[in-house]
Symmetry: D2
Subunit: 313 residues, 4 copies
């Protein structure tokens, strides 16, 4: 799509949520992180995504997070908000909350917990859009959490109807992402935005025609992703590979946490938060309960990786 008109393109990191000791939102750290990200040159802010531990945030805490990000952003960048919940009626509450706060876009997964059907998923997106027709609605492809892959013909139908503005694809399969790009081309839906959530193959995604990336790791090193974005836009593909490969070494922070002691979410987000604490952005690496924390040895290993492969604060 044209760079000038895409409201969401480029590097749109899902902002990680810092907590105080009592698990209230550490808004100071959150503001510091937003500020750092904007100064690094990112192109949009994605609030309340999976990386924000949104699944662990009450409705009230979600509002605090969103208020803080929007206030700190002060209109500088477009803001998207995740409206992640089990089903349509519950998502609609988050839609209302986000709309009230003045976001530019919403990001919603398929329903989960329930055994759903493609027809029900399609109607789900329609109802979310109907509740906020003035906002861009992004479908969030996240089979690891919701056990279903969004069907591409459905995406195209909903784009044609004006329901969907784009997709954030965290399905982990670059051929799927590419097939979405091809389908939008065939359907002449140039405005349908395709963002990849695969932080380790962003160069591929750009080469294949994606508009941007939503990288959790961008919380740790926004500079690297912005540099990667610019290098891809300049079509210096081999240099892009070099940047990506360095990023991928930094990605090791997400795999330091011991899988025999904690789940993949705790290890991944724990690694990001440990890095942000080491960099001095977050006052604490604390995760939401009941995410298991990294131990001292693991924090030290994260710090070493950050020192070797990131651009620092």
């Amino acid at each position: 799509m044209s760079e000038s008109i895409a409201p969401f393109h480029g590097v749109v990191p899902p902002i990680v949520t810092p907590f105080n000791e009592d698990f209230s939102i550490d808004t100071d750290s959150l503001r510091a992180q937003v500020e750092r990200m904007i100064k690094a040159g990112i192109h949009g802010l994605f609030a309340l995504g999976s990386s924000a531990e949104v699944a662990f945030l009450t409705r009230e805490n979600r509002q605090i997070v969103l208020d803080t990000i929007i206030d700190q952003n002060a209109g500088r960048l477009p803001v998207a908000a995740g409206v992640i919940d089990m089903t349509t009626p519950r998502c609609l509450e988050h839609v209302a909350d986000a709309r009230e706060r003045g976001v530019d876009a919403l990001v919603a997964t398929a329903p989960f917990y329930v055994r759903t059907h493609a027809n029900e998923i399609e109607e789900h997106f329609r109802q979310l859009h109907a509740a906020a027709p003035d906002l861009k609605l992004f479908a969030y492809n996240l089979p690891v959490s919701v056990n279903v892959v969004l069907e591409i013909p459905m995406l195209i139908r909903l784009a044609q109807e004006g329901v969907l503005a784009g997709i954030k694809d965290s399905g982990g399969k670059d051929d799927y992402t590419r097939a979405v790009v091809a389908a939008r081309k065939t359907a002449q839906l140039e405005n349908f935005v395709v963002l990849t959530g695969s932080e380790m193959t962003v160069d591929y995604a750009y080469l294949g025609g994606c508009d941007g990336v939503v990288p959790g790791l961008g919380n740790v090193d926004p500079y690297a992703y912005v540099q990667l974005h610019e290098t891809c836009r300049a079509k210096n593909w081999e240099q892009a590979v070099e940047i990506q490969e360095r990023i991928n070494k930094l990605m090791a922070v997400a795999f330091v946490g011991d899988g025999s002691r904690m789940g993949g979410s705790a290890a991944g987000l724990g690694g990001f938060k440990s890095a942000l604490h080491h960099l001095g952005i977050f006052a604490s690496p604390r995760m939401a309960p009941t995410h298991m924390p990294l131990n001292d040895d693991e924090h030290a290993r994260v710090a070493a990786i950050v020192d070797e492969f990131s651009h620092g604060v």
Copy 2:
């Protein structure tokens, strides 16, 4: 366990939620159903379970459902409330809501949406119990929704600590349920309650030592399940099989909905609600959005099954 001391035993149906045209809770129909169930001789009420479309209910609607059930029950039967949500902090809100309303027990699944770990699940139950130590806490084994089977040694540990009062097992595997029964015996935890959610093998479950059943289909025909319970308690196993087999023919209502058009939740709960509407208990068979509705032909088939195999109103 001893019949006299088990707070939850016998037939404890998960009450289905009726909706008005605007998807507010149809409290009149809900009261009628609670009254009918109690008069049929059930032994406990399970509010806000999966069959209640709890995944589709906002926090406010959950409170209305719970208030209505508790008020109509008027202390006649013990009441358990589902506190179903993605993670611990969100479940804790439902724990507080339910505790305020005076329920006797809580029912919680493992966290979902997030990639979790057994350690994190165990801590999840501990934190829920800590927030309501005066209430019985039941673990809800539901791999079809949360993608994980609760580990039996963990259940036993938590029972020994006083965290868990029992399990509602909807894993669909009778050998697992039986292994829980065996483990509680070995651990001399006679008070740990084992309830099966497998409505088509209740006779087996009782033969194997379970304390009761949480049958979604019990909404349609509570009489049959109460009769089955009593027959099993009287150890008339072959008669129990006959009752179970008739029940299993009635269970066909849950499979009338066309799987090429709707998901398993819509077909199953749609069948129950269609039956309750046909019986005159519910003013409407309406399901929560975006559950796809049964069509007229399907409603007629449900009605025919109900007329042939249920005990009626």
Copy 3:
């Protein structure tokens, strides 16, 4: 079904395969085991099932196993042979081999490795039957190995066509097994044999109308399963439960092998073979490569369980 006409009913253990040091078939141990099983009063022999490590046996070794079992049996009991392979053309070779040797029945799973369809599975059974129309063909429901559950309407169609004589259900869900029993009743297919592979809920299966059981653990203690069969046939259900519960304690031999070091097949079959070696029936507990072996400590634990809970040699 009527006891007198069912060619396969009662206790039909899948005979485990002993190996010499060079991984050739230890026919002496195999003969000893067949003899022991027959003397214990079992009702049929199932050769080349999953418990036989059939997946590890070359075509030649399968023939040696089958020749040995048939020769030792000497016509005393009906013999079924597994024809387990990836697809129809390969299974047909095993069908020819088994038919030549004079078995009474064949047991086949759905195709695996390939991404198949219900239509293709149905045609698979038809072609296997066409190649040996004089033999009973049993469908082997084994989703853990072939990733698909056999659809019950298909089973019924194939039974009506005379393709299938019965099912060996190792799907692990007693409600499925029961639904097959109900479907054959509705279709008036009394001769369609239903055998459960769930060794820990045999009492349930008999109560629900199954004809028999194919218990891997029956290799270790055939006496217990024969006793359980007879007790169930006599409708002494509570005594049956007691027998089953003792069996289930013996089943612990299948879970001694450390899951952090070996797969479920190695632990399960390794436990059975360790028990048979301890009992002096097998010259060695050796498993097919590359099954990881139990270690000395694990062998000792298996022996202790066998000594406490089995009927011995």
Copy 4:
């Protein structure tokens, strides 16, 4: 790795197997296809892969296929043979068969059907290599068929031991493939060959450092893949994307078969065979039983796609 020394690099299509009416191997068509492929400039031949319907080929038919390919090739290109079977002892037969015939390399998946463990998979590759230490052994990552993803540290260990010469990765996740490339770099294993099986993202794979591709679709249009290979080697990435995008439109032949009537294997391979028949290379589009055939309408749609997007004969 260095282009000059890699024995397998570039375009190495898995040759599809044509059948006569009696399902014997149509060696004439097979020879014609091999000849066509070599003339198109491919870099190696992969016999007996999944695309060859190897799962449907008896040991004898596998030998005929391999003999035919090797004879027609007459030493012009390196030849790899799949040794696909359930477990080590059975694979070892195929290893012996292939070695006798003088192949250059072997390709093996993890064991399947059995519930296996990483340790058992690792030992599996060791034993296969020990039986043919003079041949290159490739690990075949194919979770869709064998339900397990090969662990990268294991690949590296086995490469360091000299067991594995490379990987054919059909896992469908480009970030995994890339992680293998990164791991070989870190381990300074430049000779460890990484081939992608993802036919729709070959440009990505080359950009990320892969050595080649094993494209089933290369049977239909070898010219396009050779052209893509050369363009990538020349680092003309944007032109590579254009070639890839045209290829991806041709890939539609694999999705013409109706999924409500046939499985994914039948649709995919049926599409390839229909295309080869339309091009006049194969005498028939016949598939192995019990793959469901495409119907006339589907054949016509395949032909239209081939005419529009392929380089023809």
